[in-house]
């Protein structure tokens, strides 16, 4: 089992550009959550996808959008990049059990640098 895989591992973009980050969940998981982790801080919840729809969203602007595919993999898109978007982006997968979710397993993250 490859666990949660994210690509790319590192990325450098220019202000104003757009970026797409990718995540493949752990085998058997159907729910994907995205987090932004600024340097020296804890992860901040961006949104969660389940059954190809955004189920829950954190306090992030509409420049942050996502998608989930039928195979449960997911993309995070960020438009009009700002310097402040520089961070580690973490993907976490889990399995929906109806009333709750199983443990979240995290990928190694994508380090995004905006210059």
């Amino acid at each position: 089992d490859a666990g949660v895989t994210q690509s790319p591992t590192h990325l450098i973009k220019t202000r104003g550009q757009q970026v797409t980050l990718r995540c493949s969940p752990k085998s058997g998981h159907d729910t994907v959550s995205w987090y932004q982790q600024a340097l020296g801080q804890g992860p901040q919840f961006i949104f969660q996808y389940y059954e190809e729809e955004e189920r829950q969203r954190g306090n992030f602007p509409d420049r942050f959008s996502g998608h989930q595919f039928p195979n449960y993999s997911s993309e995070l898109n960020v438009n009009a990049l700002l310097l402040g978007d520089s961070a580690l982006y973490l993907c976490a997968s889990s399995q929906d059990l109806g009333s709750t979710n199983t443990e979240a397993f995290f990928g190694q993250g994508t380090r995004l640098t905006v210059v």
């Binding site: 959550s33 804890g42 992860p43 919840f45 969660q48 189920r55 979240a104 995290f106």
Partner: protein
């Protein structure tokens, strides 16, 4: 909204000794989960231990144990027989039972010295 506070930005401990990391949280919920995650320099967030709020018994996982005080909204992590490989950033996290979102503290950087 839930908040999680880790009041110790940095801690150090000698190899083989015991260290306790502190965490407090604020919520109006009665049922929830609490977690401790470890994030080494490799960036992989690894689950160390979890506690269900409805369980009075403190969770243990080998050298790792928690002291869960629900009324005080406190959730500390004790690491016994510290090893060099325990050096990492440790995050305390809260999650409602019916939500996928986890709320994290800002972490404690733990250094185990030989």
């Amino acid at each position: 909204a839930q908040t999680v506070t880790q009041s110790q930005p940095e801690m150090s401990v000698q190899e083989a000794e015991t260290v306790t990391l502190s965490c407090t949280y604020d919520t109006s919920e009665n049922n929830y989960y609490l977690f401790w995650y470890k994030q080494p320099p490799s960036r992989q967030m690894i689950l160390v231990i979890r506690q269900e709020a409805y369980k009075q018994q403190n969770a243990t996982e080998n050298r790792f144990s928690v002291n869960f005080q629900k009324a005080a909204k406190s959730f500390s992590l004790k690491i016994s027989d510290s090893q060099l490989g325990d050096t990492a950033m440790y995050f305390c996290a809260f999650r409602n039972t019916n939500a996928g979102k986890s709320t994290f503290g800002d972490g404690t950087t733990l250094t185990v010295k030989p």
